[in-house]
Subunit: 309 residues, 2 copies
């Protein structure tokens, strides 16, 4: 199955304990597609400015990412700058320049409208709805969002949520969206808003998969050192969705495998700046780390349907 | 094997979303022993004031906890008061009155000095050392501590650490003690200070067991509602140490089982105020919840010795 992702392509200026990178390749669609394309053919719908380096498009093309939906607009590419504390407890945003992204109107090329799997990365819910109007009956739609839209566009976000199969978000966002600070309560409340399946990402604490019947915890790969966590969530989503598309199934078993794929892929992203770690990782690397994780993931089923109370 | 615990017995005034309790039975030795005594004969060394309700001693005695080492001093029992936010993100301490605890000098009765397993709950490192001078060659010594001693008594704490087999602490404390914010770095640094084994508790995110060779993650039981988390850590320690004493072994396999025991016991503590949940839980409850957790715990081995890098 083919994957369509709609999101941002950006240049990030990032500082962590390990160093600084200026105008490094970033953006949700970038991280997502570089991860997703490991497992399934992936096409991007996004916008870049006239400062976007052709070499950066080549890096994605080299992974087989389809770029026909990347619009080239006049002006600067979306830019974000931030500084992380030594152990990533906090992140300070130094600047956010939307630039060409501020007037982004996603246009899905005709040839990409029949993709089976659609991932709506974190953009305005109105644009997410626009995309859903353009595609033709995808089998599986997954969504990301952020606090900004949960606070400011709750109604519109609710409209999108009614039309998606899976919502993937971090714990802070899940708590805000559900108005509960309890994981199980939050997941159930979000499922009641539409998506059958909810994935709650908790950074170094791993991620939870909530299906209709069960909950599963997948611990993050414990790393002795992280270089740059930027893009970890989007890489996780890419590995997750790419795996589902590869499998061509969306049942619980496939979702559980997808959690492992997302976990593994994201663990390489954070071991370098920008997409560098993700770009470099080989199938052999993934296999080796999967073995290292051993049977961790597959055995973490917590049958919450049978309710702990 | 028999367990000796040295720590506090207290009256807690606690407020959570679920209600308020005034002068509820608490303290590290109390929670610990009520959990530990499920699995192994446990004796307390602690001090209470003349306001301590005989009925509260009866509650412990009913569980088989040995109270010969409980000193009755003139004055008020140690008291703590605090308020938790709705979902326990924060806890505000309203008051801490050491009372009789301020001049506590642990005296281990002759009959308790040959216990095989000693748990030094969170008290002044000087007192922890005093206890180690009184006992005779225990097979296994475990320790808890807190930020207050890590900041103020680092050298003395280092003296204790050189003499213990296991340190059990939360992530914030581990990061402070090791001066690293990375879990693996922190655990290794702490192991280099003395204890072969380190258990890092992460609240609702579960707990990690670091042995010499490996790391294991045990997720906390996901609960749809928590009533009062006070004593969760001490209950975890009690379940953990009690299980080791019951097994009479301290190898990796026993430590892994102990993590499950601690996890299960603590999950009942947080479902009611004070020791009420812990006091009420039956073996059948524990078994049922263990089954619910399924094979979660035993399969979480992450062979960190083989280093993810």
């Amino acid at each position: 199955m083919r994957v369509l992702v709609v999101g941002s392509m950006a240049y990030d200026s990032v500082e962590t304990w390990a160093g600084k990178r200026d105008r490094a390749l970033g953006g949700s669609a970038t991280f997502f597609s570089m991860a997703s394309s490991r497992f399934a053919k992936t096409d991007i719908v996004a916008v870049v400015g006239d400062d976007f380096r052709p070499g950066d498009l080549d890096r994605l093309a080299a992974k087989g990412v389809g770029l026909a939906g990347v619009e080239h607009a006049k002006g600067e590419t979306f830019r974000w700058g931030g500084v992380y504390s030594r152990y990533f407890e906090t992140r300070e945003t130094l600047f956010t320049e939307l630039n060409v992204f501020s007037s982004f109107q996603p246009r899905v090329p005709e040839a990409l409208r029949d993709h089976d799997v659609v991932f709506l990365a974190n953009i305005h819910p109105k644009l997410q709805l626009d995309v859903l109007e353009q595609v033709r009956g995808p089998q599986f739609v997954a969504l990301d969002t952020m606090n900004f839209w949960i606070d400011g566009e709750r109604d519109r976000l609710a409209d999108v949520l009614r039309r998606v199969d899976l919502l993937l978000l971090n714990d802070e966002e899940a708590f805000k969206l559900s108005k509960s600070g309890n994981m199980i309560q939050a997941a159930k409340a979000i499922q009641a808003m539409g998506p059958q399946t909810v994935v709650i990402k908790r950074g170094e604490h791993g991620a939870w998969l909530f299906t209709q019947e069960e909950a599963f915890l997948y611990p993050a790969v414990p790393l002795p050192e992280v270089i740059d966590p930027t893009g970890a969530g989007d890489s996780f989503a890419g590995g997750f969705i790419g795996w589902l598309a590869k499998r061509g199934r969306f049942d619980d078993a496939a979702l559980q495998e997808a959690m492992v794929a997302g976990t593994l892929v994201a663990s390489f992203t954070v071991q370098d700046f920008s997409v560098d770690g993700l770009e470099r990782v080989t199938d052999a690397d993934l296999r080796a780390r999967h073995e290292l994780l051993g049977s961790v993931a597959g055995n973490l089923a917590l049958p919450i349907g049978a309710e702990v109370d």
